[in-house]
């Protein structure tokens, strides 16, 4: 069971939660589990070919999973996944 941190823009799609717990042994499995629980997040996380969308960064603890093994990166029980879409909200 890993912890998944949900960014503000995705929270409306997960019932307002800031953190979820999800089952899975890899980054891909855990994100699939999130998408299964909260279907609205699927198109935001994954592109049509099942890869992570380019505008979404996912970090295993503090490391970008793209420099690890991508969606195949192994995840331990105590690990945290951080989902980070780009934010731009400055001076408005």
């Amino acid at each position: 069971m890993a912890t998944v941190k949900i960014p503000p823009v995705l929270r409306p799609s997960v019932g307002g939660e800031k953190e979820l717990s999800a089952e899975g042994d890899s980054v891909g499995e855990i994100l699939q589990a999130v998408a299964d629980m909260h279907p609205e997040t699927r198109s935001q996380l994954f592109s049509s070919d099942g890869e992570l969308n380019r505008y979404v960064n996912v970090y295993l603890n503090d490391e970008d999973v793209r420099v690890l093994d991508g969606l195949d990166t192994k995840v331990g029980a105590g690990d945290t996944l951080v989902i980070l879409p780009a934010m731009a909200g400055g001076t408005v």
Partner: protein, 393 residues
């Protein structure tokens, strides 16, 4: 009978070694430590470059702090070569230094030979008082304060993030602050944009910011750009600045800024806020990743909250803007560990900071290339540029 002062000086000079300015100059380049033993005001009027300063009256108490190694070759000088002879005698006979010489003719002869003299820049009495708490910090000190006064920082926006950043950078004595903003002060700004005030509603933000900054610190020169940053003007605005503080509210301009700053080699201290959360990072071209390495493409409009008006906790841009100002000051001073290659996330409700690593993308469309190869036409361009955030200004 006691000897006269002149006779005593002759005796002392016969007991120490003297060195000609030409030889002193050569020895200095070979590692000899040159110490100016004159008074502070004489030192301030000009001294030998690279020399240390220990006034003759403080030789006994302070020379060990400047030259701890008693076997070090030391060359002392004063105005004409007499006071340095006395000081050399003290160091050799009383303090046990082994290799001390007095420069003949002092700095007067040095100058006559046409050798270089460094005139240290000094702060005015008012500046010494204003920045006294900086001067007390070894990491800032006089040199650091001069760096701040010499620095040119461009603030993109005099809004939520730019207001606190501008206030503290001005207070710190950052000598030139450029401000880009084409909005007027609005009542709804004042919940967070603390550089403005109620009586300035309706006037341009750059004018309001200038008034506040000038009242706070007259050392600061404000350059106002009442415009919206775009491809047509960015290469006119950015050149000449040392650091850009980015509080931009939209993705197209963020990409444009990234590409221009990589091309010009200007570090960008970037922050973004939404609701109760903020992000912060420093993008220093070629030292660390750029914005495109972090986010190669922007999110679709429905996931880009900047495209519409959103709520923001008024104190949050204050926190994030001051973290930006802190990074700016660190970059100017060259102190500490700047937030390069790291993204800091702040959750105000949880009172929690999280940090993730950001790597340079070896295939980055911008910063994997030589800066001069980045053309005007491709700056700020990304897929679906035209469709992105349609209707967003």
């Amino acid at each position: 009978m006691s000897p006269s002062g002149a006779e005593l000086l002759r005796q002392i000079k016969s007991r120490i070694d003297e060195i000609d300015p030409a030889a002193a100059r050569e020895q200095a380049s070979n590692g000899a430590v040159v110490v100016d033993v004159r008074e502070a005001e004489e030192w301030a009027a000009g001294h030998i470059p690279g020399a240390k300063h220990v006034p003759k009256s403080y030789i006994e108490t302070r020379i060990e702090g400047t030259v701890p190694d008693r076997s070090q070759h030391v060359i002392l000088y004063c105005q004409s070569g007499n006071r340095s002879a006395w000081a050399a005698r003290t160091m050799l006979e009383d303090l046990g230094y082994e290799h001390v010489e007095s420069m003949t003719g002092g700095i007067t002869l040095w100058k006559d030979r046409g050798y270089e003299v460094e005139v240290p820049r000094t702060l005015t009495a008012e500046q010494r008082e204003r920045y006294s708490r900086h001067l007390l910090l070894p990491e800032v000190g006089l040199d650091g304060q001069q760096k701040l006064l010499d620095a040119k920082v461009l603030l993109l926006g005099a809004g939520g993030l730019g207001s606190p950043a501008a206030l503290y950078l001005a207070a710190a004595g950052v000598g030139t602050l450029g401000i880009v903003d084409n909005d007027d002060v609005d009542l709804s700004n004042l919940q967070r944009q603390v550089i403005h005030s109620s009586e300035r509603i309706g006037i341009p933000k750059v004018d309001s910011a200038e008034q506040t900054i000038t009242a706070l610190n007259p050392d600061v020169q404000v350059r106002k750009y009442a415009l919206r940053l775009g491809p047509e003007n960015i290469m006119d605005v950015l050149p000449g600045y040392d650091i850009v503080v980015d509080g931009l509210d939209n993705f197209p301009t963020r990409y444009l800024l990234n590409d221009a700053s990589v091309r010009l080699g200007i570090p960008v201290v970037s922050a973004a806020i939404l609701g109760f959360e903020g992000q912060l990072s420093v993008f220093k071209p070629y030292d660390g990743p750029c914005y495109r390495c972090l986010f190669p493409v922007p999110p679709p409009a429905e996931l880009a909250p900047s495209c519409g008006a959103n709520g923001v906790l008024g104190v949050l841009p204050g926190t994030m803007g001051l973290l930006q100002a802190t990074e700016v000051v660190k970059l100017i001073l060259g102190e500490g560990e700047p937030l390069i290659g790291r993204l800091l996330m702040y959750d105000a409700l949880a009172a929690r900071f999280t940090e993730v690593r950001v790597r340079r993308d070896p295939d980055c469309p911008i910063c994997s290339r030589a800066p001069e190869s980045i053309s005007d036409e491709e700056m700020g361009v990304f897929p679906d540029y035209e469709a992105f955030c349609a209707g967003a200004h």
